[in-house]
């Protein structure tokens, strides 16, 4: 699965995630949607929530593995 490496990176960055999903949006293996629900997001502005996800995926974002990324985050409160 092309989504596996991203799943691993996110699971490592958000070990307490209550939901974590990576979807290959186009089937081409480079347009992804990630959904992360974690208590770490509670009380954090959306910008900072997305920043944490971007940091977790810094490597595949930099090397072009991810051509397009959609992020959906939510806290647990």
């Amino acid at each position: 699965m092309v989504t596996e490496p991203l799943q691993v990176l996110l699971a490592r960055a958000f070990p307490d995630a209550t939901a974590l999903r990576v979807e290959d949006r186009t089937g081409g293996g480079d347009h992804f949607q990630v959904i992360v629900e974690s208590p770490r997001f509670n009380g954090l502005p959306l910008l900072d929530q997305h920043r944490l996800v971007n940091e977790a995926l810094a490597e595949p974002l930099r090397d072009g593995t991810i051509h397009e990324l959609r992020i959906k985050t939510r806290g647990t409160e």
Binding site: L46, L47, H50, R51, N54, L61, R62, E68, R70, K72
Partner: protein, 126 residues
């Protein structure tokens, strides 16, 4: 600071709503840039667009300045708002309109339509 970085910083600081995108509002080259532009337009934001595609250095310098890795990037009065997902979410919740009103005043919708500016070695104002 490089000249290019200075130009980018000027756009961020001086334009009420700056959208760094792939392509131009007339010819959008990426789905996420399109989503951000639509959300801004629907909210009535006076968008100043910058195409980052003409030179890879634009994107590098922009991300170095903002600390944000992906395109598009939206700034209101110099403050990073986020990428397509955030702008879309804020537009839907009504928070984007509130932010724009706080930053630009209640008349922000009357500022006119989109415009495009260029950064780089040979700036062209379209």
């Amino acid at each position: 600071m490089s000249e290019l970085r200075e130009q980018i910083q000027n756009v961020i600081e001086n334009e009420p709503v700056a959208l760094f995108m792939k392509g131009t509002p007339q010819f959008v080259m990426c789905g996420n840039s399109d989503r951000a532009l639509r959300a801004l337009r629907e909210t009535g934001a006076p968008v100043t667009a910058v195409d980052i595609l003409p030179d890879p250095a634009i994107r590098q310098e922009l991300s170095a300045l903002s600390g944000w890795p992906t395109i598009p990037q939206v700034f209101v009065n110099g403050e990073l708002i986020g990428g397509a997902d955030i702008v879309e979410e804020l537009a839907t919740s009504g928070e984007l309109a509130r932010k724009l009103e706080n930053a630009l005043g209640p008349g922000f919708r009357e500022a006119g339509s989109d415009r495009t500016v260029s950064v780089g070695a040979a700036p062209q104002h379209l």
